[in-house]
């Protein structure tokens, strides 16, 4: 059920330079189930900015009717969002899209969760749900620098966690794919969210042999599947017109399903 609700800011803090953790309270939390779904946020009431901003749900706290968003200040929309104070109301549309399929792994299986930068947040709720199901979770999280790292402890509480930084200022230097290879990490199913080059590398390395689920991003308008702004091409495309809408068919897809 997609809802539209004025949610209340419960807490809002900077957890890394320009990265904010925003906890919101609202009835629509009760409709949030799949990890990897997102909400469409209207950061201001008027026309400045005009469009909503898609942000992934990072954590669902059902018993309190609260959920968490983690975002990086990028442009005008997220800058305005960063100014919201506890008690303020924010217009939220959601939950939207289809998330990571948690039923693809059985209790006792191992799931590898690979996140890059601001793609890390939805993996937190995913990890929580997998753990609840009795799945073993391993996290490989890539960040630019030591300062950019967030939620490391939170992930560690759920399972083994490796950090990679581009500049080697923390954890291992290099790409998340290097970490997986070097550490010879074994897994039954891979879930990932992050920049396209990272997703491509993962698809190429593991897409053929393993179950791989990727969360994609694209510029959106409606966020609900009506405007065709956010399509991606499918791997099988007989008449050159096959597509999926990232907002409503995704944002999570099986790696073999879509062209990156």
């Amino acid at each position: 059920m997609i809802n539209n609700e004025l949610c209340t800011v419960v807490s809002h803090k900077e957890i890394a330079p320009s990265v904010f953790e925003l906890i919101l309270e609202g009835e629509l939390t009760s409709s949030m189930n799949e990890p990897g779904q997102f909400v469409h946020v209207r950061v201001a009431g008027g026309i400045d900015p005009l469009l909503r901003r898609p942000l992934s749900i990072a954590d669902i706290i059902k018993e309190k009717n609260q959920f968490t968003l983690i975002y990086r200040v990028q442009g005008r929309g997220t800058s305005i969002l960063a100014g919201k104070r506890p008690g303020d109301k924010i217009d939220i549309l959601g939950p939207l899209g289809h998330g990571f399929p948690v039923s693809e792994v059985k209790p006792g299986d191992t799931a590898l969760l690979v996140g890059g930068g601001i793609g890390v947040p939805p993996l937190y709720e995913l990890s929580k749900q997998l753990r609840e199901q009795g799945v073993k979770v391993i996290h490989v999280l890539g960040f630019q620098t030591k300062e950019a790292v967030f939620y490391e402890d939170a992930f560690r509480q759920l399972g083994e966690t490796f950090i990679a930084t581009d500049d080697g200022s923390y954890g291992e230097k290099g790409f998340v794919t290097d970490v997986i290879k070097n550490r010879e990490i074994a897994f039954d199913c891979l879930y990932s969210c992050g920049p396209i080059p990272m997703l491509k590398a993962l698809k190429n390395a593991y897409g053929k042999d393993k179950k791989v689920y990727l969360s994609l991003e694209e510029r959106m308008a409606c966020g609900i599947g009506a405007c065709f702004a956010c399509v991606c091409r499918m791997s099988e495309d007989p008449d050159d017109s096959s597509y999926k809408r990232i907002c409503s068919d995704g944002p999570v897809f099986a790696a073999e399903e879509v062209l990156l």
Binding site: M1, I2, N4, R42, I47, D48, P49, L50, L51, R52, L93, E218, R219, M220, A221, C222, G223, I224, G225, A226, C227, F228, A229, C230, V231, C232, R233, D239, D240, S241, S242, Y243, S248
Partner: protein, 313 residues
């Protein structure tokens, strides 16, 4: 008395508010949010003969008070629209206006002939103004003779009234309107998007993969109002007005300019409940402004006496 009812060629509308083509798909997504029967009508996404994938992404970019799109007429093609989308829409008590597009005259004619036969299609909207396709599209909408000829051909085969959708990317909008009136159009819809672009500062390249796109949203409202104001005084066709409408106040402003009904596009992305909200708010606003029946205020900005709406029985 229903103060919101509007009678237009082919269309008996319970209210004058409908989603604009391309901003509502074929209604499936919004049907999860509210009952589509609340709407005055639905303008469905452009339909072409063959399925189209459309342009590469990114397809949208934000602009001050507006947005650009270059979707490129993505649609499942005539056959699927007739066999799947339109029958699905029959469950709602709402007339459909089918948006007809193509690259060549023959395409338009074929889509128009076939789609106009479908039961719940009450009118066609001839999209001669899409700025986002390489061939056809906007060329038909910016050269009067071409527009007139196409209108005529489509009129010949259509089983329902034909509204022609005008492009704002012209020097003289009245000239275009007169041309399609001569071509036999039953009504006009206006405006389609203005051609625009944005450039990404980091990459130095256009934000849209298609480079340029169509500007819509509140930013274009004054241009839409001006064009409707000019056309409504010079042409004898009813106008379905659009361009930046977000509120009941905007609807009245479009009526005052000369519209007989309105469509809401971009605002559906900002607030997916905007159409039913506007419909609900209209009567109260009309009370405040002393408007008895919505059709009474068409053209009030240029006509001292409320004009009698076209086709009002």
């Amino acid at each position: 008395m229903n103060r919101l009812s509007v009678e237009l060629p082919g269309l008996s509308l319970k209210n004058p508010v409908m989603p604009a083509s391309g901003c509502f798909g074929f209604g499936r997504e919004f049907s999860q949010l509210y009952d589509l029967s609340e709407l005055g009508a639905i303008m469905i996404k452009a339909t072409t003969v063959e399925p189209r994938f459309g342009n590469a992404t990114p397809r949208v970019a934000e602009t001050p008070g507006g947005m650009l799109n270059a979707i490129g007429l993505q649609n499942p093609g005539l056959e699927k629209v007739i066999e799947e989308e339109l029958p699905w829409l029959e469950q709602f008590d709402v007339p459909i206006i089918a948006n007809v597009a193509g690259s060549y005259e023959e395409d338009y004619v074929e889509v128009a002939r076939e789609i106009s036969k479908v039961k719940n299609v009450h009118a066609l909207e001839l999209n001669i103004s899409c700025p986002n396709v390489k061939t056809g599209g906007i060329a038909f909408g910016t050269i009067p003779e071409v527009a007139k000829s196409l209108t005529k051909k489509v009129k010949e085969v259509s089983s329902v009234p034909v509204y022609v959708k005008l492009s704002p990317n012209v020097r003289d909008i009245v000239e275009m309107a007169k041309a399609v009136e001569e071509g036999g159009a039953d009504g006009l819809t206006m405006i389609n998007t203005l051609l625009g672009m944005r450039i990404d500062l980091q990459t130095g390249k256009p934000v849209l993969a298609n480079k340029t796109g169509g500007l819509s949203g509140p930013a274009i409202k004054p241009v839409a109002l001006r064009m409707i104001y000019e056309v409504s005084q010079n042409v004898d066709l009813p106008i379905i007005g659009m361009g930046g409408i977000q509120s009941a106040e905007d609807v009245i402003e479009f009526f005052y300019a000369g519209a007989s009904a309105v469509a809401v596009g971009t605002a559906n992305f900002v607030d997916p409940f905007v159409c039913p909200k506007i419909i609900k708010e209209l009567p109260e606003l009309m009370d405040r402004l002393g408007i008895d029946h919505i059709s009474d205020c068409t053209g009030r900005s240029w006509n001292k006496h409320a004009r009698i709406a076209h086709y009002r029985p």
